[in-house]
Amino acid sequence: MPRALWAPAVLALALVTLPIAGLLLRTDFARLPTLLTSDASLHALRLSLLTAALSTVLCVLLGVPLAVVLARSTFPFVRVVRAVVLLPLVLPPVVGGFALLYSLGRNGFLGYLLDVTAGITVPFTTAAVVIAQTFVAMPFLVVSVEGALRATGEDFERVAATLGARPATVFTRVTCPLLLPALASGVVLSFARALGEFGATITFAGSLQGVTRTLPLEVYAQADADVDSAVALSLLLIVIAVVVIVVARPRSVEGVRA
């Protein structure tokens, strides 16, 4: 590893750590317990963890198959499909929210159908939050996993096939385990993206305590009135994140070959 890399690496680290240090410096630790246990905070935290977890699960269940199809099929239109899948990445989240409203909202073509046939309205529900988060987060998972699939190549999958493994077995016993590190990064990225989702959520799902007001919305709302409480909530999230990353991630992310 070239020495010269250390300087930018340290700078990069500083860019991340200094602001977080700033946050810690500003934290009113005395008020922390009160702030964290306020009704609004607890509701938002619970809702955020729940919806982000749900949408991450959805991202994995839907995104991994999509990534495999993109990486392994040879249809000519795959390239176009890949471009389409990445669109939510570049769409400003608020616009993503409108896109969702226009399809699943009361006046959207799907939403209208759902309303008329099943009496279901999606906007302003927790389901809307999950859908919005999945919409913005899934491309992150697809990109990570597809990249890894392409990098790993098909050699091991071919070997497995010659040993008699059918596609489903190859997928579960070879593709997935070898994909684990990338899948782990993908999960971390999409969970993070879902957890931080703001624009699409507020546009498509609104902001009601306990139903659709996730932590970023709560923080945004509180930020006007009571920054301390927003900061306190964030600290809690940081602690959860560090625990998740340090405890759960290393085994999988450090890879099979380590």
Binding site: F156, R158, T162, T169, V256, R257
Partner: protein
């Protein structure tokens, strides 16, 4: 119809493969050829890893050209071991049986048996990344064998093995290939003529994607028609029946060194290089260590690199029929040898290897 029958045509950049082959039920085909002649490509086609548009492949009478690998019931050892990095050695070998429907315990049991057979049982719990080159090669061989396939495809199975391991693996492979029940076929790619002789009934020689020689092992290796085959083979092969101290041919004895798994009374092949055959004039029988001395008539004499290769007529009972002997030009001149000369051939018993033959009649 059973066995393996295939016709393949494939283009790949500048390279074109065009092969037709036919391996009868229960037999073994050795594929020889220079680097880049298409041996691995041929195996990939048979395995279903490459699917040329222009191909017909029948395994045990079933057309498989359109089928994906798992539905072909093949077992493959590729040139690169490609052990699954995320599985232990044991689970790598158990992968095939598991995929073919065995439960975990049974599959592991099978795997353990094969690891023991191949001599790498001690590494069962290791990750593949912690194996040496030869160890990985052996585990990959065990993995291919453990699938118990209808068509077994082995690409250089004994490469990277040490001098102790190679013969042991060869004997193990021979056991496996001989035990194979009807309806089974194996194709083995190798650079070593000994593998062809000791493992295969048939030989196919590839050059630049085309078949240049094909036929029963004994015939192809004993009378090679191309320079390449001659260089890798050009061995004398004598078919007969194993005895305690060598081989019996048409009632005549040929003393030699028996391979470990050769059983007296069973069909066997004696192998010795032309350069090991000494030639004496008929009236001058030597009295020395060479156990095997018998008369023959010279059929041909031709230059062969730095030496002269002499061939005997195929006109007598015993081992001296159709034998090649390499002599220095000086020796040929000194003994005044010519076509039709009556000579005594002598070959030291220690240079004669007696291998079990794969079946009673190795010819088609």
């Amino acid at each position: 119809m059973s066995g393996l029958r295939a016709e393949l045509r494939l283009r790949r950049d500048g390279f074109a493969l065009d092969v037709a082959l036919d391996v009868p039920d229960g037999e073994v085909l050795a594929v020889l050829g220079p680097n880049g002649s298409g041996k691995s490509t041929l195996l990939d086609c048979l395995a279903g890893l490459l699917r040329p548009a222009d191909a017909s492949i029948y395994i045990a009478g079933r057309s498989v050209a359109g089928l994906p690998p798992p539905e072909r019931r093949v077992g493959v050892l590729r040139q690169d071991p490609l052990l699954f990095p995320h599985l232990s050695v044991l689970d790598n070998v158990a992968f095939g049986p598991r995929s073919r429907g065995s439960d975990r315990a049974t599959a592991r049991e099978v795997a353990r048996r094969w690891l023991t057979e191949i001599g790498v049982a001690e590494f069962a719990d290791r990750r593949p990344s912690r194996l040496s080159g030869g160890q990985a090669q052996r585990v990959a061989l065990a993995r291919a064998l453990a699938t118990d396939p209808t068509l077994l495809l082995l690409d250089e199975p004994l490469a990277a093995l040490d001098v102790d391991a190679a013969p042991a693996m060869r004997a193990a492979l021979r056991t496996v290939l001989r035990q194979r029940r009807a309806g089974r076929v194996a194709v083995v790619v190798t650079h070593d003529p000994l593998d062809a002789i000791s493992l295969a009934d048939h030989v196919l020689v590839l050059a630049a994607g085309r078949v240049v020689e094909q036929g029963p092992t004994r015939e192809v290796l004993a009378s090679p028609r191309t320079g390449f085959t001659a260089r890798i083979a050009g061995l004398n092969l004598v078919v007969g029946e194993a005895t305690a101290d060598g081989l019996r041919v048409d009632g005549h004895a040929l003393t030699g060194v028996l391979a470990e798994d050769a059983v007296p009374g069973d069909p066997a092949v004696a192998v010795f290089p032309p350069r090991a055959v000494s030639v004496f004039l008929s009236d001058d029988e030597p009295h020395g260590s060479p156990r095997n001395t018998a008369p023959a008539t010279i059929a041909a004499l031709e230059p062969h690199g730095a030496v002269v290769r002499l061939r005997t007529r195929d006109d007598r009972p015993g081992w001296t029929s159709g034998i090649a002997a390499d002599l220095t030009p000086a020796a040929v001149a000194d003994l005044a040898l010519d076509v039709g000369s009556q000579v005594l051939l002598s070959v030291k018993a220690a240079t004669v290897d007696v291998h079990p033959a794969l079946r009673r009649s190795p010819a088609p």
